[in-house]
């Protein structure tokens, strides 16, 4: 068994690709980087898978079935006893818990001219390339709650759950299944982490902060010490100069006092 869908070069050896040995594949991770998400999974469409079973002149459709991958035995049959495909909906099987549900009805992909993935860069062709190449399970958010919705509902999947998918080829006029692939490998939707688990503690302090804090603290201390020292020296310095001044004054007073006696003596003579 070999799968020919691993690279975007599609299967040339059409007649050797037997559908019963192939499985649906997830869309190329180089193209669709956001896949799978919490609630969606994008699958490659089944290119060149059913071409061996197509008869000319008849119209065919491809049905996609999805179910949860579970340990317990649940019925994974997608057809009833007369090969008619089941019409189960998402609500009926509890989102895939109880069995497969029909997620989509697609046209048979054109094997002769598959979309060139390099064209995705071209803005005009990008939509077409995406529509032709892949199918996004879980794309429709409103069909579950819309009472007027009549088509096949493809509601968002559950997060942190494994799903398996299967494509079947259905003859439109007869309404019976012509061919089918295997169930895909289990594909898991992403799990969420709560935002409260994010740790915002910055860890250790940066070197710059430590340098600034320590040096500035030391400088402030030195300045205050310098202030007290200069005030202290200023006060003791002024006391010294005050004592020298009082001695200076008393000497001049004594010099002035004897002179009036000398002048009065001369006046007496």
């Amino acid at each position: 068994m070999w799968s020919c869908w691993l690279v975007p070069a599609f299967c040339w050896l059409v007649h050797l690709c037997v559908a019963q040995s192939l499985r649906p594949q997830i869309a190329s991770p180089q193209l669709a980087t956001n896949n799978p998400t919490f609630t969606t999974i994008a699958l490659e469409k089944p290119f060149c898978v059913f071409d061996g079973s197509l008869s000319p002149g008849k119209s065919y459709e491809v049905y996609l079935y999805a179910m949860m991958d579970s340990m317990s035995m649940i019925s994974s049959a997608v057809t009833d006893n007369s090969s008619k495909p089941l019409d189960s909906t998402f609500q009926e099987v509890n989102g895939g818990q109880l069995g497969p549900y029909k997620a989509a009805v697609l046209n048979v992909p054109d094997c002769a001219s598959p979309p060139k993935l390099a064209d995705i860069r071209n803005v005009k062709k990008a939509s077409d390339v995406l529509k032709q190449y892949l199918f996004r399970v879980g794309d429709d958010v409103s069909c579950l709650y819309d009472p007027n919705f009549l088509g096949v509902c493809n509601p968002p999947l559950a997060s942190d759950t494994t799903y398996r998918f299967k494509y079947i080829l259905v003859d439109e006029t007869l309404g019976i299944m012509k061919d089918e692939t295997l169930w895909s490998d289990p594909i898991k939707t992403n799990s969420v982490k709560k935002s409260s688990t994010i740790d915002t503690w910055p860890g250790r302090r940066s070197g710059g902060m430590i340098v600034i804090t320590s040096i500035l603290s030391v400088l402030i201390f030195l300045l205050l010490a310098g202030l007290f020292a200069s005030v202290f020296f200023a006060i003791t310095g002024s006391e010294d100069s005050a004592t020298t001044e009082t001695r200076h004054i008393s000497q001049t007073v004594q010099q002035v006092a004897p002179r009036p006696q000398a002048s009065s003596d001369r006046a007496d003579q």
Partner: protein
């Protein structure tokens, strides 16, 4: 002062020069801090919502400290030239107070810069961006600020999330509560837009096809200006304080040597 008049004149000249430099640095500090406070990139709402906006407080202190330094430098020059004890004492006391404020500003800016991690902004973005049910008016104000800022950042700089669009896919968020993952794996602003402001290819954006969504993270655009702000306030203030320390010490020495 009788001893060595030349020595005294030289010392006075040095003090005057020191004060001139302090005055000029004060004006520069005021200008720099006004520039930071004016918040050219309008990132303040992000800081406000983290309750960690003290680098703005440090910048505000820097504005007033710079102005005070300029005025005190003028006072110091006049006091030194006139050798007036009262003036110089006033200068020393006021300078010490200004010194203390500037020290506080520098330490605050340097310390709070350390809190800016990717996780801080990531958590805030997840909890406040497009928060549909804020708890109170304060929360509402902060949530609206965060939403407005992120919308503008994502559109202007073509980036998404803090580390990348995967942030929206890896964590639960208030945004995710009201916007289903299927329709909005990440905000529409993460999509590459055309000139009308509409995503070029919505399916490509939702699937993560390169070229139709912005896969760059916005963290550098947030942290870059904030780092420059914090370091500018902290280190320039530190440099001024180192210089002012010497001028102040010499002025104290000069003051203690003046005779009445």
């Amino acid at each position: 002062m009788a001893k060595g008049d030349n020595g005294v004149r030289c010392f006075q000249g040095l003090l005057v020069l020191g004060n001139v430099i302090i005055g000029l640095c004060g004006i520069a500090l005021t200008a720099e801090c006004i520039f930071f406070v004016s918040d050219q990139q309008t990132l303040y709402p992000l800081l406000e919502a983290t309750n960690n906006d003290d680098i703005y407080g440090a910048a505000w202190i820097g504005i007033f400290v710079g102005f005070a330094l300029f005025n005190l430098a003028v006072l110091g020059i006049v006091g030194v030239i006139k050798s007036n004890r009262a003036m110089l004492l006033a200068y020393i006391i006021l300078m010490l107070i200004t010194y203390a404020f500037e020290t506080a500003s520098c330490i605050t800016a340097a310390t709070h810069r350390d809190f800016f991690t990717r996780n801080l902004f990531l958590k805030q973005m997840l909890e406040k961006y497009q928060n549909p049910e804020p708890l109170n008016n304060d929360d509402k104000w902060m949530s609206e600020g965060v939403t407005r800022t992120w919308d503008r950042l994502m559109l202007q700089h073509e980036c998404c999330g803090v580390n990348g669009p995967s942030d929206w896919q890896n964590y639960m968020s208030k945004f995710r509560n009201i916007n289903s993952d299927s329709e909005f794996p990440w905000p529409r602003q993460c999509c590459v837009m055309n000139v009308q402001g509409i995503p070029v290819n919505l399916d490509g954006c939702k699937l993560g096809v390169s070229g139709y969504y912005n896969d760059k993270g916005c963290y550098e655009l947030i942290a870059g200006p904030m780092d420059r702000h914090a370091w500018g306030v902290a280190w320039f203030g530190f440099a001024i304080l180192c210089w002012t320390f010497w001028v102040l010490l010499c002025t104290m020495f000069y003051w203690s040597r003046i005779e009445y």
